[in-house]
C-alpha cells in the first residue's frame, strides 16, 4: 500500500567518470588548502571506516539482513587490540586476536535471531551492543571503565606506524586486503547463498541452502571486519572509551552503507568518504551561518538528522540502489 504524498524528482545517476574527476579535484583541493598531513590523516580515517563499512555491506547489502550493533563489535576489536598492545604483544598476534574476538561477538549477537531473521536481527544485535557497552563501562579493572584506556602506537619491533603517512599506508593496505577477501567471498558459494537469501529466503532454503548458517557466517565475517577496523581505529586515536562505540556509531555505520549503496562493495568506500566528510561540511556550514545561529547547541545533531532524512526521502532504496 504505497501512497507517496509528495514525489521528489528523481535525479539522474552520476556518471562514473565525472564522480572520479570531482573526487580527484576535491582531494587536490584538500591537500592544497589543509596540507598533506591533514589529508593523509583523513585518508587513514576514511580507509578504516571503509573496512567497517565492508562488514555492514556484507550483512545488509549482500545477505539482506539488518544490524544495529556494529559499534559494539568495533569496540570489541579496539579493546582487544588495545589491551594486548599494552601488554607488549606484537600486531601479528594481537590483530588476528582482535578480529577473532569481534567475529565471535558478531556470531553471538546474531545467534538468537538466526532462525527468525529480519527485524529480530535488529533486536538481538541491539541488545548485544547495549550489553557490551555496559560491560565495558563496568569492568573497570580490565577496561579502565568509563575513563577509557590509552593505546600505544602500532609497532612491530623497531618499526612504528606513528604519524599520518604511516597510518594512511597501513589503513589502505588493510582495506585492500579486506576488499580482496570480500570480493572472493561475494563471488564464492557463500556469496551466492547470501544473494539467494536476500532475494527469497524460502526459495533459497528449498534449493538446499543452509540459511541459518549462511546468515551466521555473514554476521561473523561482518564482525571480524568491524574488529579489524576497531583495532586500527584504537591505534590511530590512541584512546578508547565505551561512549566512542555507542549506538550512534552503529547507526553511522548503517547510514554509511545506506548512503554508499549496500549492493556493491564500493558502497563502503563512498559511504566512508561521506560519513567522514559530513561533520566537516557541517562545521563549514556553521561558519557560514550568522553567529547567533551558529552558536546554537544541538545544531550538528539537527543537521545530521536532516541530511539523513533528506537522503532517505530522496532515495528510499539508497543512493546507489537499483
Amino acid at each position: 500500500m504505497r501512497m507517496a504524498s509528495v514525489r521528489l524528482p528523481r535525479l539522474p545517476a552520476i556518471p562514473r567518470r565525472a564522480a572520479a574527476a570531482a573526487l580527484l579535484a576535491a582531494a587536490a583541493g584538500i591537500v592544497a588548502l589543509m596540507g598533506a598531513g591533514y589529508a593523509l590523516g583523513q585518508l587513514a580515517l576514511v580507509a578504516t571506516f571503509a573496512i567497517a563499512g565492508l562488514g555492514v555491506v556484507l550483512i545488509v547489502g549482500q545477505a539482506g539482513q539488518i544490524t544495529l550493533g556494529q559499534g559494539a563489535l568495533l569496540a570489541l576489536g579496539a579493546y582487544t587490540e588495545g589491551l594486548l598492545a599494552r601488554h607488549g604483544l606484537p600486531p601479528p598476534v594481537s590483530l588476528p586476536a582482535a578480529v577473532a574476538v569481534a567475529a565471535g561477538g558478531g556470531w553471538l549477537a546474531s545467534l538468537p535471531a538466526r532462525r527468525l531473521g529480519g527485524l529480530y536481527f535488529a533486536m538481538s544485535t541491539l541488545a548485544f551492543a547495549l550489553i557490551v557497552e555496559e560491560l565495558l563501562a563496568r569492568a573497570a579493572w580490565l577496561t579502565g571503565g568509563a575513563a577509557g584506556l590509552t593505546v600505544p602506537t602500532l609497532a612491530l619491533g623497531p618499526v612504528a606506524a606513528g604519524g599520518a603517512p604511516a597510518e594512511a599506508a597501513v589503513s589502505v593496505a588493510a582495506l585492500a586486503l579486506a576488499w580482496a577477501a570480500c570480493r572472493r567471498w561475494v563471488d564464492s558459494r557463500l556469496g551466492r547463498a547470501w544473494h539467494a537469501i536476500r532475494a527469497d529466503e524460502g526459495a533459497a532454503a528449498a534449493s538446499g541452502i543452509d540459511c541459518a548458517r549462511a546468515k551466521a557466517a555473514a554476521f561473523a565475517i561482518g564482525g571480524g571486519l568491524s574488529g579489524l577496523a576497531g583495532a586500527l581505529y584504537a591505534h590511530w586515536i590512541g584512546f578508547v572509551s565505551p561512549e566512542q562505540f555507542g549506538l550512534m556509531l552503529s547507526f553511522e555505520l548503517l547510514v554509511l552503507a545506506f548512503i554508499g549503496g549496500a549492493r556493491h562493495l564500493a558502497g563502503a568506500l563512498w559511504g566512508a568518504l561521506i560519513i567522514v566528510a559530513i561533520p566537516q561540511l557541517i562545521a563549514l556550514l556553521r561558519d557560514l551561518l550568522p553567529s547567533h545561529l551558529a552558536a546554537t547547541a544541538g545544531l550538528e545533531l539537527l543537521l545530521f538528522g536532516a541530511v539523513l532524512v533528506a537522503v532517505v526521502l530522496w532515495r528510499p532504496q539508497g543512493i546507489a540502489g537499483r
Binding site: 544541538g298 539537527l302 538528522g305 532524512v309
Partner: protein, 292 residues
C-alpha cells in the same frame, strides 16, 4: 518484606512506562509495518511540551497535560503525512534510518532551546509528594499515579479497539491492509491514526516518567528498554507488550536487590536474547503452547 513491596511497586511503576512505550512501538509496527526508532524522542518531547506549557507559559497542569498530548498527537499525524509514509513498503532498514533521522532532528531542536538543555527539570504532580502510608508501608504517589494511569489507558485502548468502528478499522488494517482496503477502510488514514496514537502514547509515557525521574534531554534513552518488552510480548501483541514491560520493570527492580551494581541495566537485554533463543514467539505464544 516491606522493602520488597516498595521495590515491587517502583518496579511496576517504571515497568508501566516501558510497557506504554512498547505498546506505542508495537501499535505503529502492527498497523504500518514500520519500525520506529524515535519513540524515545517523542517521549522526551512530550514531557518537555507539557513542561513548557506549565512552567514556561503558566498554563495550569490540568490544562497543560491534554494540550501537550494533543500537540504530540498532531505532531505524530503530521510527521506521518509528510515524511514517514514514504517508508511504507520499503525494507525495515529504510524506516529505521528515517525514524532515527527524524528523532535526531527532534532532539537537536530541543537541545537548541537553552532552558531545556542547560538544566534538568521536575514536573510536579498536582497532588503533592507526601508518601501514602498504609500501616508502616510508604508508597510514593508518583508510582501509584503511574500505575493507575496505565491501567486507565489500557482500559480505554481496549474499549477503543473492541467497541468502536475506528478501532475495528485499525485492527483490520493491521491484520491485512489489502482486505481492509477492499472492505472500504481508508488505509492511508489508518496509518496516520496509528502514528498519531503512537506519538500520543509515547508522550503520555514521558508524562508518567516525569515525576519518577527528571525531565531532561536523555530521558528518551529509557525507550531502548521498550524493545526487549516488545520482543518478550511477541512483537505483534498490544497486551503482550504492556505485560512484558511491567514484567521487565519488576525483573529489573528485583535484579537491583540481588545482583551487583550495574547488572540491573543489562537484565532486559539478556532477557531479550534469552527469549529469542528459547521462546521466539514471545511469552504469550510459549504459554499457549504449554497449555496445549
Amino acid at each position: 518484606m516491606l522493602t520488597l513491596l516498595q521495590v515491587l511497586t517502583s518496579g511496576i511503576a517504571i515497568g508501566c512506562v516501558y510497557g506504554l512505550v512498547a505498546l506505542s512501538f508495537v501499535l505503529i509496527y502492527k498497523a504500518t509495518a514500520t519500525v520506529s526508532f524515535m519513540q524515545g524522542e517523542l517521549l522526551m518531547l512530550g514531557a518537555f511540551a507539557v513542561l513548557a506549557l506549565n512552567a514556561g507559559a503558566g498554563v495550569p497542569i490540568w490544562l497543560a497535560v491534554p494540550l501537550g498530548l494533543a500537540a504530540m498527537t498532531a505532531l505524530g499525524a503530521g510527521l506521518e503525512r509528510t515524511v514517514l509514509r514514504r517508508a511504507l513498503g520499503q525494507p525495515h532498514l529504510t524506516a529505521v534510518l528515517l525514524t532515527f533521522g527524524v528523532g535526531l532532528v527532534l532532539r537537536g531542536a530541543v537541545t537548541a532551546v537553552p532552558a531545556a538543555s542547560h538544566s534538568v527539570h521536575r514536573l510536579d504532580l498536582p497532588f503533592g509528594d507526601a508518601p501514602l502510608a498504609i500501616g508502616s508501608l510508604a508508597l510514593a504517589p508518583a508510582h501509584l499515579a503511574a500505575i493507575a494511569a496505565t491501567v486507565a489507558v489500557a482500559i480505554l485502548l481496549a474499549l477503543f479497539f473492541r467497541h468502536t468502528r475506528l478501532g475495528l478499522a485499525l485492527r483490520a488494517c493491521a491484520e491485512d491492509p489489502r482486505a481492509a482496503a477492499l472492505m472500504g477502510v481508508p488505509v492511508a488514514a489508518m496509518h496516520t491514526l496509528a502514528w498519531a496514537l503512537g506519538a500520543g502514547l509515547a508522550a503520555f509515557a514521558g508524562l508518567l516518567l516525569a515525576p519518577l525521574a527528571f525531565v531532561h534531554l536523555n530521558m528518551g534513552l529509557i525507550a531502548l528498554k521498550a524493545f526487549p518488552a516488545a520482543v518478550l510480548g511477541g512483537m505483534t501483541s498490544l497486551p503482550g507488550a504492556l505485560a512484558a514491560g511491567v514484567f521487565l520493570g519488576v525483573a529489573e527492580a528485583l535484579a537491583g536487590l540481588v545482583l551487583p551494581e550495574g547488572a540491573k541495566d543489562m537484565v532486559p537485554y539478556v532477557l531479550l536474547m534469552a527469549a529469542l533463543l528459547l521462546f521466539p514467539g514471545g511469552f504469550g505464544a510459549a504459554f499457549a503452547r504449554w497449555r496445549g
